[in-house]
Amino acid sequence: MEGPGPVNTQPDLLYSEEEEALRAAVRDLLADHCDAPGVIARTESDAPHDLAAWKALADGMGLAGLLVPEAHGGQGATHREAAVVLEELGRAVAPVPYLTSAVVATEALLACGDGELLGRLASGRTIGALAVGLHLAPGAAHPVAHVGNGVLSGELTGIADAAVADVLLVPGDDGALYAVRAQDATVTPQTSFDLTRPLATVTLADAPGRRLGEAGPAVRRALRAGAGLLASEQLGVADWALTETVRYLKERKQFNRPVGGFQALKHRLAQLWLEVVNLRAAARAAADALAAGEPSDETSVAVAVAQAYAAPVAVRAAEEALQLHAGIGMTWEHPVHLYLKRAKADSIAYGTAGAHRAALAELVDLSAP
C-alpha cells in the first residue's frame, strides 16, 4: 500500500461529562490558587513553583496519579483526562510540575515498570523529572551521564522543573535509566525564558543511582506522551489569549467606539478563533490516540500532527493578545507576557513544529527530496 491510507476509525474528539466536571474542578482550584498577580509575584521570588497549588492538585484531587494504574496507587485514568487538566493548567500558566512529573517522568517509569516509584509520583508527594533537555523531540538523541562503578557523573542541562524534583530519572551511557535522589545531585537553576516552567542544570559527581530499566524506550515513550499532551496545554494558553483579548476589545474604547468593532480587528480575532477550534480537534485527537494504549504509528501520527500544528497557533494567539492589548500588554504587571513566554518556550519543548513535520514525512510517506 502507498501512503498512510484512509483512516476510518475516527477518534473520539469530544469531552465526556466526567471530563467537563474534572475541568470545572481544576479551574475552580486554580482560580483560588493561581491568580495572575500571584504567579507574577512568584516568578521573582526564590520559589517560582507553586507547591501549594501542586499539593492541592495532587493530594487534594489525586491528579498526579491520573496515568498510573490503580494497582500502583494511581487513578487508572487516561491521557484524555490528563489532557483536560493540562488545558486548564495552560489557561492559568500554572507553575506546577504537572507535565514534567505526572506525565513525562510517570510515562518513563511506566515503561520501566517501577511500581514503587510510580506510586510515590502518583501521590504527588514525590516529584520526578526526566533528566533530558526540554527541547528534545521524541526519538532525538540526548546527552547521557557516565556510569561507572554503580555511580553517575556528568552535567545535564535544560531540565524542566528539576528545581522542585525529589527524584531525577537519568539516562546513563550504558543504555539504562537510573533514579537519582535530588539530594545526591547538584541542581542549579538556569535563567529561563519561560518563568513559569524554569529549567535547571543537573550536575552529578559520583551520584548513586538505582537502575530502573532500559533508557531508550522509556525516554521515547515519555517524550511522545509529553509532546502529545503539550498540545492540550498549548490549547489552554491559546484559548486564554483569545478569550481575554475578545473581552478586552469589547470594553476598550477609542475613536468613540469599542475597538473590537473595527473590522480589521474582528477579522484577526475570527481567524484566531478558527485556529483555536482547529487546535482543539488536533489536541483531542492526540490525547485520544495516546489513551488507546498500545503505541502505534497512528499514535505517532496524531502526536506529530498536534505538535506541528499547536506551537505556531499558541504563539500567534499570545502575540496577537499582546499587540491588541497594546501598551498595557507590554507591561510586566499584565499577565499576557507570562502566556507569550510559555507559548514561545512550548514551541521548542519536546521538539519544534519542524521536527514533528520531519517525523511526519517518514510516518506518512511524504519523503524529502
Binding site: P6, P11, L265, V305, Y309, L366, A368
Partner: protein, 394 residues
C-alpha cells in the same frame, strides 16, 4: 420514538421489498422516500420518521453495504441542502407534498436565484421586482447572476422585492419559481476555468402563482436566513478519511514523481498536509457534536478553512508539476452538471477553488459573522437600516 433498531428493521424491509440489483434506480429512491428513510429526521409522510438526525448514519451504512443506489447528493446539493429545509420550515402542506419527494430523489434539480449584479454580499439590496396582480398572482422582472446549475434546474428558490417603500430587509418576499415558465431565460456565464457552471438568469414578466410563495409577503428575508444558514452548515461536518480532500491528489503526485521534489516544496507540502489533517479532524469533531445534538459554532469556520486550504494546496500542486504546470487540461466551454474537482487537472482545481472563498458568502463576510455571532464583537455601524429601499444610494 423511532430508535436505531427500528430503523435497521425498516431498512432491511426496504431492501427485501425492493432489491437494489433488480429495482430501477428511481423506483428504489421513491420507495426509500416513502419508507421514511430518505432523511429520517423529517416528518412522517415527507421522507422521514421524525427520528433523531444522528440515526441517518445507521440507514446510510446499511444501504451502502447493500449496494443501494444513492441520489447523487452533489448534483442536487442546492435542493437538498438549502431548498428542502426552507420548504420544510415555511412551506404549506401542499408545497411540502408537491416538492420534497422529487427534490430528494433527484428527479427535480433546484437552483438558487438570490445574487444579482447589484446585490452580492449585500443580498438584501436586491432589486428584482415582484408585483402583485388583481388575481393575486405575481409578475416578476429582474436579473439574477452567478446562478449555479440554472441550466439543469427544474425549480428555483427566488427572492424578490415586493415593497420598495420600506427598509430593504422588510420588503422582500420568497418564491418558488418554475424554471420552465415563459419569461425565464438562462444564459451561460463562462468562468475562469473555461466552463460555464453558473449562469445569468433574466426574468421578464414571469407569472408566479401566489401558491408558490413561501412564507408571508414581506417576510422573505427571514425565510432566506434559513436557506443561508443551511448553506453554510451543508459545507462543514462531512466525514472524510485522511487525505480525503484536495491534499490527496498532491500527496499522490509527490509519492509517484520523486523527480519533481524540492526542499522548499517539501516544507510547504508538509505544512499543508498537517493543516488539512487538522481541518479534517475539526470537521469530524463538528460531526460528532451534531450527532450528540449539540451543534457547535465550528460550522461557520469550516467553510473558511476549506476555502483557504483548497486554494493553497491546489496552488502548490501547480508549482510542483513544474513544466506540466504551464499546461491546462481543457479550455472547452462546457456547461457541466456539477463541479468535478477530482476528474480534472491541478490547474483546474487551482482556478475553481478560487470560487470557494466567494460562493455561499465570501470569506470576508464569514469572518464578520464569526466575529459578531460567535465572539460577540460589535457589529458594523450601519447607514441603511431605517431608510426605504427606494431611497438608498445605488
Amino acid at each position: 420514538m423511532t430508535d436505531a433498531a427500528e430503523l435497521t428493521r425498516r431498512t432491511a424491509r426496504l431492501l427485501a421489498d425492493h432489491p437494489p440489483a433488480t429495482t430501477a434506480r428511481q423506483d428504489f429512491l421513491k420507495a426509500r422516500f416513502d419508507a421514511g428513510l430518505a432523511w429520517v429526521h423529517y416528518p412522517q409522510g415527507l421522507g422521514g420518521l421524525g427520528a433523531p438526525r444522528s440515526l441517518q448514519a445507521v440507514v446510510d451504512a446499511a444501504l451502502e453495504a447493500a449496494g443501494a443506489p444513492d441520489n447523487d447528493p452533489r448534483r442536487i446539493g442546492i435542493g437538498l441542502g438549502m431548498a428542502a429545509p426552507t420548504i420544510l420550515k415555511y412551506g404549506t402542506e401542499e408545497q411540502k407534498q408537491r416538492f420534497l419527494r422529487p427534490l430528494w430523489t433527484g428527479e427535480e434539480v433546484w437552483c438558487q436565484l438570490f445574487s444579482e449584479p447589484g446585490a452580492g454580499s449585500d443580498l438584501a439590496a436586491l432589486g428584482t421586482r415582484a408585483v402583485r396582480q388583481d388575481d393575486g398572482d405575481w409578475i416578476v422582472n429582474g436579473q439574477k447572476v452567478w446562478t449555479s446549475s440554472a441550466h439543469v434546474a427544474r425549480w428555483a428558490i427566488l427572492i424578490a422585492r415586493t415593497d420598495p417603500d420600506v427598509p430593504k430587509h422588510a420588503g422582500i418576499t420568497y418564491f418558488l419559481c418554475d424554471m420552465t415558465d415563459p419569461g425565464v431565460e438562462v444564459r451561460p456565464l463562462r468562468q475562469i476555468t473555461g466552463e460555464a457552471e453558473f449562469n445569468e438568469v433574466f426574468l421578464t414578466g414571469v407569472r408566479i402563482p401566489d401558491a408558490r410563495r413561501l412564507g408571508e409577503v414581506g417576510d422573505g428575508w427571514r425565510v432566506a436566513q434559513t436557506t443561508l444558514n443551511n448553506e453554510r452548515v451543508a459545507i462543514g461536518g462531512m466525514r472524510l478519511p485522511r487525505e480525503g480532500g484536495m491534499i490527496g491528489p498532491v500527496a499522490k503526485t509527490w509519492r509517484e514523481r520523486p523527480e519533481l521534489r524540492t526542499h522548499d516544496l517539501h516544507q510547504r507540502l508538509l505544512k499543508l498536509w498537517v493543516e488539512a489533517e487538522v481541518a479534517r479532524l475539526t470537521g469530524e469533531r463538528l460531526r460528532q457534536q451534531l450527532a450528540q445534538g449539540q451543534p457547535g459554532p465550528e460550522g461557520a469556520g469550516m467553510k473558511l478553512a476549506f476555502a483557504r486550504l483548497n486554494q493553497e494546496i491546489s496552488g502548490l500542486e501547480v508549482e510542483l508539476r513544474g513544466e506540466e504546470g504551464l499546461l491546462y487540461d481543457d479550455w472547452t466551454m462546457r456547461r457541466p452538471e456539477l463541479v468535478d474537482f477530482t476528474g480534472r487537472d491541478a490547474g483546474y482545481r487551482y482556478l475553481r477553488s478560487k470560487g470557494n472563498s466567494i460562493e455561499g458568502g465570501t470569506s470576508e463576510v464569514l469572518l464578520n459573522i464569526v466575529a459578531e455571532r460567535v465572539l460577540g464583537l460589535p457589529s458594523e455601524p450601519r447607514t441603511d437600516k431605517d431608510v426605504a429601499w427606494k431611497d438608498l444610494a445605488r
